[in-house]
């Protein structure tokens, strides 16, 4: 216990609670890289880098609502994972896909704190939010000098470019009728983060063939990313057993996997195949969300 007490961080000089986005941006500019935005604060409470001297709390900015606009769903950055799960418009997305996916995130105690914005900004390789939002074709609104919309994949990749930006909200476009999606998480325990996770989405034409496909795999153990070759291979295919099997095998070849303390690369390679097969099988059955 004594060792833990000594870890108390005292390099943090200020905890600011701005009431406007402009004020938050000004504070970020003033403190430069010594500042961090605090959504739920979970990651920063666990570890604040020694270079950080100012925490800028986002809870006063009014970016905590979920609303429908022009067919899109707009999710404020400080919406908690619990709030996301309890929202009716979110529950209606692809047969409850998001709610089912979020149910596997940590525990209710943590989901009451962790925010959607924080989940995207943290870029945790094992994040369940990121692969789900990638296959939902999400964009994020990032405010620097001005606010602009960026595809989530670009935001994740261009880490340095957006480092000083404030994520205000995420936007999920409406899926075409007949679309289906699914999510699969593999973890050592119910509470633990993913050894590997997999999300898939398919829009199908009237003959049942895939007109649009998005598949993302995370926890490889690198950050989740789309598997574009598998997506391309599925275009024009009916999701029958053969097509699903070849896609799953191709995914196992395409996705780069590695070792860490949670799983070996060879085990992960197997999980990629199983995950993609399960996700596509559920999509073929027309059911979104994770089976439990």
């Amino acid at each position: 216990m004594a060792a833990k007490e000594e870890r108390v961080v005292d390099h943090i000089e200020t905890y600011a609670r701005p009431q406007t986005v402009d004020e938050a941006i000004r504070l970020r500019q003033k403190w430069e890289d010594a500042a961090r935005f605090v959504g739920g604060g979970v990651d920063l409470a666990l570890y604040t880098p020694p270079s950080v001297r100012a925490l800028i709390d986002l809870s006063g900015l009014g970016i905590s609502s979920i609303r429908a606009e022009d067919g899109d769903l707009r999710i404020g950055a400080t919406v908690t994972i619990t709030e996301l799960m309890e929202d009716d418009s979110i529950a209606a997305v692809l047969d409850g896909l998001i709610v089912e996916g979020m149910r596997s995130v940590a525990s209710p105690l943590l989901r009451n704190l962790a925010t959607v914005g924080g989940s995207l900004v943290s870029r945790h390789p094992w994040s369940d939010v990121i692969p789900l939002f990638l296959v939902l074709d999400a964009e994020v609104s990032v405010r620097q000098a001005a606010a602009r919309w960026i595809p989530l994949a670009s935001f994740l990749e261009e880490r340095e470019a957006w480092a000083d930006g404030l994520v205000l909200e995420a936007r999920i476009p409406a899926a075409a009728p007949g679309s289906a999606a699914a999510f699969e998480k593999f973890s050592r325990t119910e509470f633990d983060v993913a050894m590997l996770n997999c999300a898939g989405f398919a829009a199908r034409s009237s003959d049942g063939r895939c007109a649009g496909v998005r598949i993302a795999v995370g926890g490889t153990p690198r950050l989740a990313a789309r598997v574009e070759r598998v997506e391309a291979a599925l275009i024009g295919e009916a999701l029958d057993e053969d097509a699903i099997d070849s896609a799953a095998r191709l995914a196992a070849k395409e996705v780069a996997v590695g070792d860490d303390r949670r799983a070996s690369a060879s085990y992960r390679r197997r999980l990629v195949e199983v995950g993609v097969r399960r996700v596509l099988t559920r999509i073929a059955a027309g059911r979104g969300g994770e089976e439990r």
Partner: protein, 158 residues
């Protein structure tokens, strides 16, 4: 140091905290030792409190973030001498052994039942999935929470 005001177990209190301090450490410093410190990293749930009605790991909340919020600790769950139905059910089912996880477990259960008054066993297990107990194997807590739910819905036979 910075001044913050919290309503803790129904009592408004103002005091100074360091910008980096966690709610858990502040509560214990103020004497709310019913809030337990286990892992300090959001894994065990012993430090759970209700923050504006929602159960959270107080070890992962900056105290400054909670400024202006209402906190309920295990010590504010009962009404005077009258135990909360969840506490009562924990006693009836023998769901307490060493007791270290109990405050957090009760807090998590109170939050769960406020949202799901009629939970399934699976929902109860999910509801306390952020609370570790090394004594009981969870069976008795799950039974207790289901029993509390029945009682709170008005069925005293629960």
């Amino acid at each position: 140091m910075m001044a913050i005001t919290l309503v803790i177990d129904g009592v408004r209190r103002s005091f100074e905290v360091a910008p980096s301090e966690k709610l858990l450490d502040v509560l214990r410093r103020l004497g709310y030792t019913g809030v337990k410190k286990g892992c300090g990293s959001g894994d065990c749930g012993a430090c759970a409190v209700l923050l504006d009605g929602r159960a959270v790991n107080s070890c992962l909340v900056f105290a400054a973030k909670a400024d202006g919020c209402e906190i309920v600790t295990i010590e504010g769950i009962s009404h005077g001498e009258a135990l909360h139905p969840v506490q009562e059910a924990f006693l009836d089912e023998g769901a307490v052994q060493c007791g270290y996880c109990t405050p957090g477990m009760v807090i998590a259960a109170v939050d769960l039942l406020s949202r799901h008054p009629d939970p399934t066993e699976e929902e109860v297990r999910e509801g306390i999935s952020g609370n570790l107990c090394r004594c009981t194997g969870y069976k008795k807590q799950v039974r207790a929470i289901l029993r509390a739910a029945t009682r709170m819905r008005g069925d005293r036979d629960g």
